[in-house]
């Protein structure tokens, strides 16, 4: 087990280092942040002052060396626009994004798995067909459009839910969370559902496919023959076996939820990381873009690692196979 983890860790460090170089150079060849920062009324002297203050007048390799030196100390540079450490600005926004992603994930699992299992057990039932048709919609409708429609229906026409923003927050262990207040919860529902739709459809499809396959396996038939109750067959024998693909995909998708909830956050004006990054890209706030991408890389690498470990717990064959190599 530990050999497995150590090998994985070394791979991860390599991936992070390569990504760091790629991200830095890619971001630094696009445009010139000075044009986005300096007031148009400024004269040439002011433009030069800003270039110098931001270190943009130095050659790219020097800037990169500077970046690497600081990054190793955990300093990703100061935001050009806000003048504060990029890492701090991103970390400030993590709770909001994390909350949204977790809420979406819970919705996807709680709704998706029962629906998928049901559709797998009774493929010919009308309800099952409706579920599957719904999942196609969930896959194919663009997120921003669904978001705007939800705002139109639930906020503008029916007036049930607030249209945008995060709502009241309370502090839990120094972190601002909104799901513990009624106002916060009402703000959370729509964006979380919007973000969850795609994942929900994904889970439905995975759960259904898994169920269809496993339900005909010998051990299920044997359990039936033995007289095990249907409930126990589904909850223990079936569930355990359909969960592996679901966990894999959700693990990866959770990273996606956190890193790329840009569209949902923009439509619902949710104060998370996605909104920060999209503004940073528009205004060429390079330190934020680089720091954000680095965090994303580390996040994905970590999630993959965790997924691998969960795998090996769920399925001993993964662990043993790795050790034999």
């Amino acid at each position: 087990m530990s050999v497995f983890i150590i090998r994985r860790l070394m791979q991860s460090v390599l991936v992070i280092a390569i990504m760091g170089a790629l991200v830095f150079f890619a971001v630094n060849v696009v445009g010139d942040p000075v044009d986005m920062l300096v007031n148009p009324e400024a004269d040439q002297a002011e433009v030069e002052r800003v270039l110098h203050a931001l270190g943009l007048d130095r050659p790219l390799h020097e800037q990169f060396w500077f970046f690497v030196k600081n990054a190793l100390r955990g300093d990703m540079g100061d935001s050009f626009i806000f003048g504060e450490p990029a890492l701090k600005l991103i970390v400030q926004r993590i709770p909001a994004t994390f909350e949204l992603a977790v809420a979406a994930l819970i919705m996807a699992v709680v709704v998706g798995i029962p629906c998928g299992v049901y559709a797998g057990l009774k493929p010919e039932a009308r309800t099952s067909k409706a579920i599957m048709a719904g999942s196609i919609l969930g896959f194919s409708l663009p997120t921003f459009w669904v978001g705007l429609m939800m705002i139109m229906v639930f906020a503008v026409m029916l007036g049930w839910l607030p249209s945008t923003g995060r709502g009241d927050t309370v502090q839990v262990m120094g972190i601002e969370v909104s799901f513990l207040t009624l106002d916060g919860l009402s703000h959370l529902v729509m964006p979380a559902l919007n973000l969850a739709l795609f994942k929900m459809s994904l889970v439905v499809r995975l759960a259904r496919a898994g169920t269809r396959e496993i339900v005909h396996q010998d051990y299920i038939k044997f359990a039936r023959a033995k007289g095990v109750s249907e409930g126990r067959i589904i909850l223990v024998h079936l569930m355990k076996n359909i969960l592996i693909p679901v966990v894999t995909v959700l693990g990866l998708e959770f990273g996606n939820l956190i890193a790329f909830s840009v569209v949902t956050e923009t439509v619902f004006a949710w104060p998370g990381m996605g909104k920060l990054i999209i503004d940073a890209i528009n205004n060429l706030d390079r330190p934020i873009v680089v720091a954000y991408l680095m965090i994303t890389v580390i996040l994905f690498v970590t999630i993959n690692l965790v997924v691998d470990i969960i795998y090996s717990l769920l399925d001993p064959r993964v662990r043993l196979g790795d050790l034999k190599r």
């Binding site: 696009v30 920062l37 009324e41 806000f82 007036g159 945008t164 923003g165 439509v267 004006a269 909104k275």
Partner: protein
Amino acid sequence: MRITRTASAVLFAAMMALPVGAAAQTLTIGLQAEPSSIDPHYHNLTPNNALLRDIFDRLILPDETQQLKPGLAESWKALDDLTWEIKLRQGVKFHDGSPFTADDVLFTFERAPNVPNSPSSFAIYVKNKKVTKVDDHTIHITTEKPYPLMPNDLSTFSIISKKHGEGASTGDYNSGKAAIGTGPYKFVEWVPGDRIILQRNEDYWGDKPAYDKVVIKPIKSGPARVAALLAGDVDFIDNVPTVDINRLKKEGKVNVMDSISNRVIYLHLDQFRDDSPFVKANGGGAIKNPIRDVRVRRAMSMAINRDAIVERVMEGIAIPAGQLLPKGFFGVSPNLKPVKYDPAGAKKLLAEAGVPDGFELTVHGPNDRYINDAKICEAVAQMLTRVGIKTKVETMTKSVFFKRASRGGPDNTPEFSLVLVGWGAGTGEASSPLKSLLMTYDKSKGYGASNRGRYSNPEMDAIVVQALSTVDDAKRQDLLAKATEIAMNDVGLIPLHYQISTWASRKGVAFKARTDESTVISTIYPN
């Protein structure tokens, strides 16, 4: 949830034990852009300046049409060509109760140009000015050369408290520790990306604002901003998307307010290279840049149907332009009208200039900076093509566009041959666009900083320089108008239209629509 919100409002009102009718009023507004800081001298950027002038007063406050009105300065006058006397308002108190004096102004002049890490400083308005204290409520500002724009410059930056500002960092302002001004609103809280909260300054020296508390929410997406207003989550929004304006006006559920802005959308043309990179002969061969011929430039201007652009592309939310600033601004010429659409005349001029069959050209523009910018480029290209100048369109994101348009070519010269850009005159008078867009590019003097076509006419330069040192308002007005006429006659650039800024509010809330694209919160009032 609606019910809880009402309940908490009722509870709040009950706790405050306010008499019915005069209940505590909270105004919630949704803005497209969020300020980057609460430090008024950190970033010279419209969203920052618009918000922060309500927390930190300025010496002179531009009103909704950018006319200069007394702020912390009660009066100002030029004692002679080189000395200005500013009388400061007496009895003004900062939000913490400490008095406002000349020392605060002196301190502001010291700090404003020198904020560390500032991505765009206020040095351009502060430099070359020597400030001396005469008494606690009088200061003298001297310059080496006559400087008529003194009042305009003094209307651009906020005055801070010396007591709280000494040694304070930008972070101290963002946290609220140093964010103590004299303005109509006090700063309460800023949660980046989520909200800014302001509280009315009950001791304000001027007209007190109508609302006790203001909550500002950044809502970047246009449709979401409109939806938030329609849903009643916000009372007021800025920058209504042009596609929604006519529908909102018709439905009548909300007020829509608009004002012509100081921003002109124009085309800059390559006038300094014989071999211009995006000008080609018909068929793609090399050609001596015909745009350097004033007749060709004039023909291009005549080929553009400005009314059609305003009606079709801008959905009526713009005004055709014939110069650099709309009517009513200081320094505009009464003689200049938008060039008339005349494709036949344009073809004749092209023939006279020796290019009867036109040539090939590419127009470049941003696609996320001005209202409908990419669509305007397309319309312009079609119109030019119709008179024989076969024009292609290439638009790109602003962060890439401005670098290439300003210095993408060899030796940091402009890369393109024809660009679509906009210019908002921050000072609210014509010297701003003349100096930056049309004067001969001169790095050492700071002239022509945004002259992306490198238009150059020494006669016009001389008149602008003279205007910039003429303190007499009437004389300066004439000089600026004359310089504008020369530049427009040379077709130094092709003005297309002036943008119109829009705001919308729920019934019962109104706003004095402004020409400077700023949402000044203290001028939102109930009606």
